[in-house]
Assembly symmetry: C2
Homo-oligomer: 145 residues x 2
């Protein structure tokens, strides 16, 4: 077995988790939400978030975010409301339907973390998280989140 780059090892594990979460959603009936869409949804704050902020958080262009929100809106997961603070802007907000779906993803996330901790042991899992949090300081372009 070759010595894989650290970043590739991270990619393997994170893709695994993404697939699991995605699959859990689908089994719960969320057949019409794609991965890119769910990544955008993950960036929506409780009180709604501007489209340009969502684009920034997901690291995609505004036009892409517009397209994704269009589809999410048509499927009934988000709505666009005027931003009272700025007439040009609109806030993207989760609908009740989306709020109902979120716990599914969170539960699967928790399940995965527990499995990982069981495999690594509490100490190693803690070290893993510590290192990843530190790494974020030099790899995340949007730390303000």
């Amino acid at each position: 077995m070759r010595d894989l780059p650290t970043s590739l090892l991270m990619f393997i594990a994170s893709r695994y988790a993404q697939n699991r979460i995605f699959e859990a959603g689908r089994e719960a009936g969320l057949t019409d939400v794609t991965f890119a869409q769910s990544r955008l949804v993950a960036g929506i704050d409780p009180d709604g978030t501007r489209l340009s902020v969502l684009a920034e958080r997901a690291q995609i262009a505004k036009q892409t975010a517009t397209a994704l929100v269009d589809k999410l809106e048509r499927a009934g997961y988000v709505e666009r409301v005027p931003d009272p603070a700025d007439g040009r802007a609109r806030l993207v907000r989760l609908t009740a339907r989306a709020e109902a779906a979120l716990p599914i993803a969170r539960a699967e996330e928790t399940r995965i973390e527990r499995e990982w901790e069981a495999h690594l042991g509490t100490e190693r899992m803690g070290q893993l998280r510590e290192a990843l949090v530190m790494l974020r300081e030099i790899t995340d372009p949007y730390l303000e989140r």
Copy 2:
């Protein structure tokens, strides 16, 4: 700052590395290779690899792999040769042009690893790698690689 899921922390760091490597390639003149294509290329063995194996390694459908190889072939990075062991199959092989480009990616990879180690310290970097390698045991569907 919220407590992000471990898998998301991994995603952030691995995406950063991917972007860096991709950018390094582009600065070195590899303007015509996309990210999906390079992920496919990464799965090619020195003696050539069957398309279906590449698809499996990259976790994409055969049709997708066909399309990617088509583009890579047109750009002169890979070639298809008959598989002497099976008349139905063909081996996808790197061309000299691709072989010449590989060191660029590897060098950037090495640079990133060094930066991470400098930020985390040798011990924590070692712990990070150890945990990730262990995690691979339960998250990588293609460990035989």
